[in-house]
C-alpha cells in the first residue's frame, strides 16, 4: 500500500471547481477539488518492459490545475480512467530492474503512454516516432489514459510509487539535482513547442505567458531556432527578469503587448466594438504558453497575416476570427515526441538543456511539498507567478512528522 493523491469522479466538485476554481484557488484546494489523500494499492503492470518506481519529485503542471478546477475540456474525458493519481512531471528511481536499467537508477518519465507501453502494434504515428500523436491511447494492456498521471493503472507522480514502461524512461545523468531533473519533462514540451513553431531565421516571435511553459519555451526558442526578437508577455517582476535571462529580447505586460508589438513591427492597431483590439501586421510566430482565452486571443491578434500561432498551453475557447481572416496557421503542440525534427528525442535534447547554467539556477527555485500538504501546494501552484515561483512539486518521500 502507498500514500497518494487521488483524483476521483465527483460531479458536484467538478461543477463547483469549474464555476469558481480559477477565481478562488483557495476554494479549489480546500473544498472543491476532486482530490483526496488516500492509502491505495501500489500500481503494478505485470507486462514485459514495465517496472515500479519510487517517486522522488513530481511537478504540478498547469494541465493538472486545469483538470482539478474543471477547466479542462470534456474532450479529454474519454482519454482518462478514473480514479487516477495525477503527476506526469516525474523524477523517480527504479525499484526493479527494467531491461537494461538496473534497480536504483534515477530516471525521468516521458509520460506519453504510446503503443510500446500499451503492448500493441505501433500505430502510424508511433512508427514514425511521433509518440505524442499515438492513436492507441485508449486500448492495449492499460486502462485509457493519454499519459502517466491520467491513467488508473500506472499511477502518477503524486503517489509514492508508480509504474512505467521502459520506453518512457530516461536515465538522469550524474550530477543533476532532482529539482533539475523534474524540469526535464516541461523542457521536453518546450523543445517540442519551439520546433513546432517553424521559426525561420530572424523571425519575430511572441511568447504569451511567463510561467514555466513560457519561460522554458523562450529558452528553447533561443537555443534551438534562429529566432530574432523574442517578446515575452509577463505579469510579474521576477518573470520579467527570468525571461530576459532565458533569452527574451524584451518583456512586456499583458496591457502593453499589442502597443509594443505594433510599434516594433510597424503594424496597425484596430479596435473593434466590444472586442479585444488586435493588430493588422505583427509577429511572425506567436506561442500561447498560458491557454487562457485572453492569452490565446492576444497571440492570434498579434500575429501577422500568414503567420503561425502555436498552442502550447492547453487552449481555452477563443474567438478564432483572426485565424480565418488573417489565414494563420494554428498549430497544436502536445507533450513531446521520441523523434523531433532533427531526429532526436525531445527528452534527450531537454536533458542536455536543463544542465545549462541558467536552468540550473532556475531549478534551485523549485519548491517541494510533502503529499499531506497538498492543499498548500496547490494554493502555491495557483499563485506561483505572483509568489515568484516557477515550479511547485510534490516530494512523496517526505512523510508526516
Amino acid at each position: 500500500m502507498m500514500l497518494a493523491l487521488e483524483m476521483y469522479r465527483s460531479l458536484s466538485r467538478h461543477v463547483v471547481g469549474r464555476a469558481v476554481g480559477s477565481k478562488v484557488p483557495g476554494l479549489l484546494s480546500g473544498y472543491a477539488a476532486p482530490l483526496r489523500l488516500a492509502t491505495v494499492e501500489e500500481p503494478r503492470v505485470d507486462r514485459p518492459g514495465w517496472a515500479c518506481l519510487r517517486t522522488r519529485l513530481s511537478g504540478i503542471c498547469g494541465s493538472d490545475l486545469g483538470a482539478l478546477s474543471g477547466r479542462t475540456s470534456l474532450y479529454f474525458s474519454a482519454l482518462v480512467s478514473m480514479p487516477f493519481v495525477p503527476g506526469h512531471e516525474v523524477v523517480a528511481e527504479l525499484l526493479d530492474d527494467c531491461e537494461d536499467l538496473p534497480a536504483g537508477t534515477r530516471v525521468v518519465v516521458d509520460p506519453v503512454l504510446g503503443c510500446a507501453a500499451r503492448g500493441v502494434e505501433p500505430c502510424h504515428s508511433c512508427a514514425e516516432g511521433a509518440t505524442n500523436r499515438c492513436a492507441r491511447i485508449t486500448v492495449g494492456h492499460l486502462a485509457p489514459g493519454l499519459q502517466t498521471g491520467f491513467c488508473a493503472d500506472t499511477g502518477g507522480g503524486w503517489g509514492q510509487t508508480l509504474a512505467a514502461h521502459r520506453s518512457q524512461l530516461h536515465p538522469v545523468p550524474e550530477g543533476y539535482a532532482d529539482e533539475q531533473a523534474v524540469l526535464v519533462e516541461p523542457m521536453a514540451c518546450a523543445v517540442h513547442a519551439a520546433l513546432r513553431a517553424g521559426v525561420t531565421d530572424n523571425a519575430r516571435v511572441l511568447v504569451s505567458g511567463a510561467g514555466s511553459v513560457g519561460l522554458l519555451t523562450t529558452y528553447a526558442l533561443r537555443n534551438l531556432t534562429g529566432a530574432g526578437e523574442i517578446t515575452v508577455v509577463a505579469k510579474h517582476a521576477h518573470q520579467r527578469e527570468l525571461a530576459l535571462e532565458l533569452g527574451a529580447t524584451e518583456v512586456v505586460t499583458p496591457g502593453e503587448v499589442l502597443r509594443r508589438l505594433r510599434r516594433a513591427t510597424g503594424a496597425f492597431l484596430v479596435e473593434p466594438e466590444h472586442a479585444r483590439p488586435y493588430l493588422l501586421g505583427g509577429v511572425d510566430v506567436a506561442v500561447d504558453a498560458v491557454g487562457s482565452r485572453q492569452s490565446l486571443e492576444t497571440a492570434l491578434g498579434a500575429t501577422r497575416a500568414g503567420g503561425r500561432v502555436v498552442l502550447s498551453g492547453m487552449p481555452a475557447t477563443a474567438d478564432l476570427s483572426a485565424a480565418w481572416f488573417r489565414e494563420l496557421e494554428v498549430v497544436g503542440c502536445y507533450s513531446s515526441a521520441h523523434v523531433e525534427p532533427g531526429g532526436r528525442p525531445a527528452f534527450e535534447v531537454a536533458m542536455e538543456m536543463v544542465g545549462g547554467d541558467v536552468v540550473s539556477r532556475l531549478a534551485k527555485t523549485v519548491v517541494a511539498y510533502p503529499l499531506h500538504r497538498w492543499r498548500e501546494a496547490l494554493d502555491h501552484a495557483h499563485g506561483a507567478g505572483g509568489l515568484g515561483t516557477v515550479k511547485v512539486a510534490f516530494d512523496p518521500s517526505e512523510t508526516r512528522r
Binding site: E256, R260, R263, G266, A267, F268, L269
Partner: protein, 526 residues
Amino acid sequence: MTRPGFVLEVDDRTPPLVVHEGEGFRLQEFPLGTRVIYPPESLPAVPDVDAAIAEALLHPLDADPLPTQLRPGMRLTIAFDDVSLPLPPMRAPDIRQRIIEAVLTMAADAGVDDVQLIAANALHRRMTPAELRHIVGERAFRSFHPHGLLTNHDAEDHDNLLHVGLTEKGEDVEINRRAAESDLLVYVNVNLVAMDGGHKSVPIGLASYKSLRHHHNAKTMVRSHSFMDHTKSHLHHSAWRMGRLLKEHLNIFQIETTLNNDVFPSSYDFLMKREWEWSVRDQAAMLGARRALALAPRRLRHKLFHEMRSPYGLTGIHAGDTEAVHERTIANVHRQQLVEVQGQSDVLVLGVPYLGPYNVNSVMNPILATCMGLGYFFNSYRGQPLVRRGGAVILYHPLEANFDQLHHPSYIDFYDEILAESTDPLVIEEKYEQQFATDPWYIHLYRTSHAYHGVHPFYMWYWAAHAMDHVDDVIWVGGDRRTAARLGFRAASTLADALEMASSTVGSSPSISYLHNPPHLIADVR
C-alpha cells in the same frame, strides 16, 4: 495706468503666493529673500478692433495694401495659427476670425473666387470641426468647410507638399503645396509669446517633417538661448533662413496680433493680481475656487479648467512684410511681458499650469509638463537664464502618468519605451526619432484621427534640452515619484524638501527666483 512687471523680494510681510500645479494651484510660502518676478499688469486693449484690423490691412508695413494685391482669377490662401494658440483659448470671437472675415470681405470685393483656408498645424493634431469653427467663426466655417476649402495642413500628404528649395545651409524647405503655389498667402497669427510669429509662421506651421527636422532637433534646441529671443535662437535662425528663401518664391502677407495679459476670466481674476493686494472678494474667490477644486471629482475639475475661455484684449495688429511686421510685434510683446531682473539665482521655481500648447481639450501628460516647465517657462528669458549654470529648477506639477489615447498615442510609447532606456535628448534622437517619425500607424493616426505626429514627443523633449543641459538638478514638488524617475528627475512633497534635496547642488542657502507665471512674462536678465 498699467503698472510694469517687477521683482518682489520676499520678506516677513509677504503672504503665501499662488503657484500653479496642473489642474489646481497652491498658496506657497517662500523663503525670505526669494525673488518673485511678476508680469506687467494687463495693457489696455485696442478699443476698436475692426478699425485696427482695417488700418493694418490698408496700411501694411513694407508691402502694398491688401486690396491692391487682390484681383479676380488669382489664387488666395489664408493660413492661420492652430488651436495651440492662444492659451487658454480666446473667448469668441477669436481675433483670427475677425481678421479672416476682413480679408475675405476684401477678397470678395476684389472678385477673388479661388480662396482656401488652411490651419497651419504642422505636425500638431488635426483640429476638430468645432475647433476650426471657433477659430474662423461660423460664417467662414459654413462657407468653406463643407466644400473642403477649410482644412488642416497635412504634413504627410506628399502629393500636396512642395519642396521649394534649400537654404544656404542646406536645409530643406518643404511646405504645403497649395500655400506655396498661391498668388498670395495671407498668414494670420496670434503672437502670444515672443517665440511665436515671424518666420516661425509659414516655414514651420505649413512644413513637413523633412523641413522641420533641420531645426526641431536636440542640437539646435540646446543652442537656442533662448526661444523667446529669435535673435539668439538657433531654431529661429533656421526658420528665418527658410522664411527668406520662401520670400523669394512666394508672396506672403503676414498679419500678426498681440494680446494683453487678461488670461483668466473674471471668476479667476485673483490669479492675475498680486497676492498682498487681494480684496476680500478676491480672497473669497480664491478660497471658493480652492475648495471647489479640492472637492470636485477629477473629470469635473478637468472640465472646469478646459472650458475656460480667456477675455484677451488686442494690444496690436500689424500686417505686411514678415520681418517688418514681426519687429513691431515683438516690441508689443515685450511691452506686455518684459520684466527686468538683475542677475541669476541658484534655484528657479516654476509652477506648471493645467494647459500648454499641445493639450488643449486634452491632458497634460508628463512629457508635456516637462516641455511646459523646462521648455517654455525656463526659456522665458532674454539675455541669460534666470538660474545659473549648474543650478536647480524646482517645478510644481502632479506628473501623473495619464495620456490621452486620442491625441498622444506616440507619447505613450515614448514614455514607456524610450524614456525607460534614455532621457538624453541626443541619444534618443539618434536612436529612435526616425522610427517614430516614419511609423505608418502614427502617420495614419495623424492624418485621419486627431493624433499628434509620431515624432512630436521627441520635439517636446528637445524643447527641454537647453534646460536639462544648463541645470544640474530638476525636482518636481507634488510630482509622482515614479514618473519623475522615469523622466530622469526627482520628486519632493514640499518646497522645503525640494530645497533640502537640491542642497547638494546649490548649497543650503541658495538664492531663489520664482517666475510668477501665468500671465506670461519674459525675464530680461541683466
